[in-house]
Symmetry: C2
Subunit: 353 residues, 2 copies
């Protein structure tokens, strides 16, 4: 058997067919978010042509798990989640770790070299030394899902959290992504927390009446804003708060001024995140008019009936950078991570040859 780390979770490898190994091996892509973690397996041989990727992409297997952001669930749980989704994806593909050529992980909460090192160290003990390992923030997987593996342009993620990342000629820059405490305004959590705050302020007399009160209480099955305090702190999950965004959008669409103001401010914050990244990387060129993609990812940026946060953010960005164009990815971020792994692997091979 293998010499690397081999817990019970990898027992399936004893019976795996391993025929993929003979066909050029696998590429794994992982998208680790604050809500869920996805791993996909793709066959390297079918991705070898640089220009023409097969459509649809030949995804051999896919596995999904819980949160892998260590800031949200702790290091041990984050690591277990990552190991489980990778093992499950391999199990479903009928392959073993020996069949893997490269893995790219985009993990939410990877913010500094120390975070990256921790994940890399664990992977080095879990996978054979021949496997190429790439660990980044999950924003990179999201960008790659829009650009089909190319690291050029900007990505804006607004789901439970929010972050903007930009890449140009090997240089990367980020803005936001600090989580609820550190000013992720415009994120799903930020929008919902502002709405909950508006309800409390209306209730105790500090703020004006808002339709948000009845809408949110009804959604949560509560009878008084006083009960919101207990509800809020009963479960520390950020995603649970962020799930209230559709209620805020509905109220804004129904004409509620407070809800509308919260969304307008969210749009300004998200656009500011992108614009600061674009400016620092000169993605718009000398005159700011060059063309570059902005990959738009996350529930907050999905179109709602009338109030379309993603569209408003793009309008705001295009006032400063008319060459910016939005991309809504056709593949999921985990696939973007896999395509990035393939590109990075190809670049390393070129370097050697």
């Amino acid at each position: 058997m293998t010499k690397y780390k081999n817990g019970e979770i990898w027992n399936f490898e004893r019976e795996a067919r391993g025929d993929i190994s003979k066909n050029g091996g696998l590429i794994l892509g992982v998208d680790g978010g604050a809500t869920s973690t996805v791993c996909v397996c793709l066959p390297l041989i079918l991705l070898s042509s640089d220009s023409n990727l097969p459509d649809p992409l030949p995804i051999i297997s896919r596995a999904i798990g819980g949160c892998s952001n260590h800031n949200s669930v702790g290091e041990a749980a984050a690591r277990d989640t990552l190991e489980q989704v990778i093992a499950e994806a391999l199990l479903k593909s009928g392959s073993t770790r020996d069949d893997v050529r490269a893995i790219c992980l985009g993990v939410s909460g990877v913010n500094e070299p120390r975070d990256q090192e921790r994940v890399l160290n664990w992977l080095r003990h879990t996978f054979p030394s021949i496997v190429k390992l790439y660990v980044h923030n999950d924003a990179i997987a999201a960008l790659a899902s829009g650009t089909m593996g190319k690291l050029h342009g900007c990505v804006l993620i607004a789901g439970t959290g929010s972050i903007s990342y930009g890449f140009k000629e090997g240089k990367e820059v980020r803005a936001g992504g600090g989580g609820p405490v550190l000013g992720d305004w415009g994120s799903g959590y930020g929008i919902a927390a502002q709405a909950l705050t508006a309800v409390m302020r209306a209730h105790d007399g500090r703020g004006p009446w808002t339709m948000l009160t009845t809408s949110i209480l009804q959604t949560l099955g509560l009878s008084s804003p006083d009960e919101l305090i207990g509800w809020t702190y009963a479960d520390p999950s950020w995603a649970r708060i962020a799930a209230l965004v559709p209620v805020v959008v509905s109220c804004a669409e129904a004409g509620d001024e407070i809800a509308n103001k919260i969304l307008v401010e969210a749009v300004e914050e998200l656009a500011a995140c992108v614009k600061t990244v674009v400016q620092r990387l000169h993605l718009g060129g000398e005159d700011g008019r060059c063309s570059f993609p902005i990959v738009m990812v996350g529930g907050v940026l999905q179109a709602n009936k009338t109030w379309d946060i993603g569209k408003e953010v793009m309008n705001c960005i295009c006032q400063s950078y008319p060459g910016a164009y939005p991309i809504k990815p056709k593949v999921e971020p985990a696939v973007g991570a896999a395509l990035l792994a393939r590109n990075l692997l190809a670049k390393e091979s070129e370097g050697k040859s």
Copy 2:
């Protein structure tokens, strides 16, 4: 032995002298906060005169424990903390639960009847049925510590969290107190989170340079704002974030505009909390010029060298209500709770006679 709940923690009662019982019994006051919980025992007999309380007050014993806000540490831990401080205070006093006449608990996180009922239910199983039990939000203990047990006027607490409570002729009104997610702006947590956010915004280019960056990184022993994300989420304690307030005050005193703006906004928020309570209770009378006390409690309102948040809040309130006067309590909130227990007990006795 007693018929009521009797875990190991109460074993000391078998050897307690019980001589206080013969002298009129004890009054217990508990102040349960998000950072610590304090219980004090006072002899009822020495507090019987309505007008002249002994000075200093005859505090027989005092015990201190951790957090008892169930929203912060969970129900089981909150309850254990309360039981431990009460048992320890009784142990130190050489008395048993049979010696207690009344207990008043002011507990942070008690926001609705259900919270109150939960604490009362537990106390009813722990104490003999003859003991009078009063459970309120910790703001009431703080008010009573300034008014020596009288429920009239307003209290503003700004420590880790912030809340304003007002009382007039049996009616009570509150504003704020929703905790970090629900807009406790002006609290220690709120001020520090704003400062941390300003550091992140300056770092990624969204906001202007601020002295807060070097001051906060130095205080925390970090080398880059990127490391702040890991630091922030490594420990979910609200008090740990709030402990950065003195750094913000120092920066404001040294002329940093961003730090100054954060404190100015905190003052406005805290004053708005008080003013909405005063207005709803008509504490200022018809013309708003009547005299009433504002009890000022918590680390944020303590005087700092030049920048005095508490003084600025009072200035702001007095522009609308010139009759408002500040009280800085001479006794701690737990003693306020004990004095309130004594007043409520006396009122019940009057009602019966």
